[in-house]
């Protein structure tokens, strides 16, 4: 296994494997998988850790050695050749940009400055930076889901930092995985969701961390005690749209909703 610090435990009586990484992508990652085969669970857990570490070191703009940092420091000067994964990431970013009428924008300013030709990326203007903060965890959870499926795990609960939670299949004693949303300011539960092959993503301000969500059209920070949730069969849709929901106006939300008919979104005044 790579350099991530991780913890795992197998509970044979329950056929349950629990794995956790206390620090990855600036938050924590937990997974509970239902599997009576310890070895199967251990192997997929190792694959999950490897994948999380790979994506972290690719997508973290705070890591000067990451691929996204190479783009941020060089792509405005001359084209930068990127990995296959980064090509996929940027294509997805472009797709979401289009399908959210420009509200989802990893440049937080003007996504049209990002040019992708083959596996070469260039920025058409200086002061262009990619921030994949509202994308990376959803993307990672999608990859984790695929790893679990491929390993034949049907029932699993994946929690990435509390803000992206995937329920695959169901709880051993229920028909889904139930999760409640906590108000970060009061600690009170303010909503309950049943996840069955779906992901809940939450965005918003917390007492410790406010003003990190920016409307790319106005440059204004989203202020105040506000949070949004999006539940979707696709982890990445959920991740992207929960941020979009905070930024979008009522009219825009209606438009976006047309492009994502499977999702359920809410906004909370905290």
């Amino acid at each position: 296994m790579g350099n991530l610090v991780s913890h795992s435990e197998f509970h044979p009586a329950e056929g349950l494997f629990y794995g956790s990484v206390p620090y990855v992508m600036h938050t924590r990652f937990d997974v509970v998988m239902m599997s009576s085969a310890k070895e199967t669970a251990e192997i997929v857990w190792e694959d999950i850790c490897t994948e999380l570490e790979r994506l972290w070191h690719m997508l973290d703009r705070f890591d000067p050695a990451s691929e996204v940092s190479a783009l941020n420091s060089g792509a405005a000067l001359s084209p930068v050749r990127v990995s296959e994964t980064m090509v996929e990431v940027l294509r997805l970013c472009a797709m979401y940009h289009e399908r959210t009428m420009g509200i989802f924008d990893v440049t937080k300013r003007d996504f049209s400055r990002v040019r992708l030709e083959g596996d070469n990326v260039s920025f058409s203007a200086p002061d262009t930076f990619l921030d994949l903060g509202g994308f990376a965890k959803g993307y990672a959870v999608r990859k984790v889901r695929d790893l679990l499926s491929r390993a034949g795990i049907e029932d699993a609960y994946v929690d990435f930092g509390g803000s992206t939670i995937l329920g695959m299949g169901h709880h051993p004693f229920g028909d889904s995985w139930k999760v409640s949303l906590q108000n970060p300011f009061s600690g009170e539960p303010i909503g309950e969701f049943s996840l069955r092959d779906s992901t809940l993503s939450t965005s918003g301000n917390t007492p410790e961390y406010a003003g990190h969500i920016i409307n790319p059209r106005t440059g204004a920070k989203i202020a105040g005690k506000i949070a949004s949730t999006v539940m979707s069969p696709d982890p990445l849709d959920a991740e992207v749209l929960s941020t979009v929901w905070l930024v979008a106006g009522a009219q825009q939300r209606q438009e976006v909703r047309k492009n994502f008919p499977d999702m359920i979104a809410s906004v909370y005044e905290l």
Partner: protein
């Protein structure tokens, strides 16, 4: 212990105040003309700071140990040289002095400098005895000159920000403090000739030194007072010479407990024959712990973890209920295994406390710069002398407790209006 109110803490944080009032007091090319009293290792460290401060000019140097005087003189060509500090104090071309001498010399020099109408900056601790501290405090209250003691943590950004976090209640109620300073070094300096032993190794002898408490503990106790917004009411402790049995008189191992009126305690420990634990200023809150010396905090509860744990318990109990773990938390609110969180973003310097002389960027540069500015503007820096007084008295009380093997209550005669208990 509750958390002190915003006003009180801001008032004891000149670093924050200094940034707030920066605009009003631009200096117009004036320089503070400084005379240095004491040019040994710490004096040379201070000299280096001064040579990098644009509004300071070192005009005179004084030391009664010729090799140190000559070393400093080589760095400041043109500075007047003195062997007797009284003569330096008569020099009309000096606006302020910087005193870096053995602890027993602080009181006579500070008092003489104030009497001579000089502005004064003196190394910590304040003085060798409580009587001397009180005399300095009284003289400071009388003079219109500025007086500073090197309480550099008050000017260290990571302390100011960490204390702001405590003030915001982010770590809950303060329930304890653990400060320690560990080194593995004998504190001894080479002596060219035996009659210079007490002069050069002044830290090792009670006549000239309060030992680990005044040399190291002083800074950390100041932080505790700053955090608490009040002083402990009593102290007990044990001190010994455990390892460096080389004829020294001061302890090389101290364990001291200070108690506040509400029962919160400071556990202070210093040992200089093992460096494993380094230097830390830990403040323990009901919700978390912060080490102010490193600018790192740890939270007690991990809510994500507890949500998952609930899920595991549910499965064991064959129960099905909602897991309370969803919420907007891109930033880690908490982490398992007490993974540290950094308090401070940006250019922060943490030192391991192993140098006998001083560390880079530990606030010493800022407090020295603030002093030189004060020399020019005449503006006093709030609370620096008071904090130095409080911290030094606490150090000396610990020595009294250890030497007398008794619990010492804070003496009435050394209370000043600034203190809260």
């Amino acid at each position: 212990m509750g958390v002190a109110t915003g006003g009180a803490l801001l008032a004891t944080s000149p670093w924050l105040n200094a940034s707030a009032r920066k605009k009003g007091g631009e200096l117009s090319g004036e320089k503070a003309r400084i005379g240095m009293i004491g040019t040994g290792s710490r004096g040379q460290y201070n000299l280096d700071l001064l040579l990098h401060i644009p509004h300071a000019q070192v005009v005179a140097l004084c030391d009664n140990y010729e090799p140190n005087l000559q070393t400093a003189a080589a760095l400041v060509p043109g500075a007047k040289l003195y062997r007797d500090y009284h003569k330096l104090l008569e020099d009309k071309d000096i606006d302020g002095v910087v005193i870096s001498t053995p602890l027993n010399w602080h009181a006579p020099m500070v008092l003489d400098a104030i009497a001579a109408g000089k502005n004064v900056y003196c190394e910590k601790a304040m003085a060798r005895t409580m009587e001397q501290c009180k005399a300095i405090y009284d003289a400071y209250r009388q003079t219109d000159k500025v007086v500073y003691f090197c309480m550099q943590r008050m000017f260290d950004e990571k302390y100011a920000k960490g204390i702001q976090m405590l003030q915001n209640g982010e770590l809950g109620d303060i329930v304890g403090m653990r400060c320690h300073w560990f080194r593995n070094a004998d504190w001894r300096r080479e002596v060219p000739s035996p009659e210079l032993e007490r002069k050069i190794n002044w830290r090792l002898y009670k006549e000239s030194s309060g030992g680990l408490m005044t040399e190291l503990g002083c800074h950390q106790l100041e932080v505790c007072n700053w955090v608490a917004g009040k002083l402990p009411v009593k102290v007990q402790g044990v001190g010994d010479i455990v390892h460096w049995k080389d004829g020294r008189e001061v302890y090389d191992s101290v364990n001291v407990i200070y108690s506040f009126s509400d029962g919160v305690k400071i556990n202070y420990e210093s040992l200089i024959s093992n460096k494993f634990n380094g230097m830390e200023d830990q403040i323990l809150g009901t919700k978390g712990t912060i080490d102010l010396a490193r600018g790192i905090y740890w939270l007690e509860d991990d809510h994500t973890q507890s949500g998952i744990r609930q899920l595991l318990e549910q499965v064991k109990d064959k129960a099905f209920a909602a897991v309370p773990s969803a919420g907007p938390s891109w930033r880690p609110e908490t982490k398992t295994g007490h993974i540290p969180h950094s308090v401070i973003q940006g250019d922060i310097h943490v030192n391991g406390g192993q140098s006998m002389i001083g560390a880079a960027n530990d606030g010493s540069d800022k407090i020295m710069s603030a002093y030189c500015r004060s020399v020019i503007t005449g503006e006093k820096s709030p609370n620096v002398v008071e904090e130095a007084y409080c911290a030094t008295i606490l150090c000396l009380l610990a020595n009294e407790a250890m030497e007398g093997q008794k619990i010492v209550e804070f003496p009435e005669e050394y209370k000043i209006p600034y203190m809260k208990f």
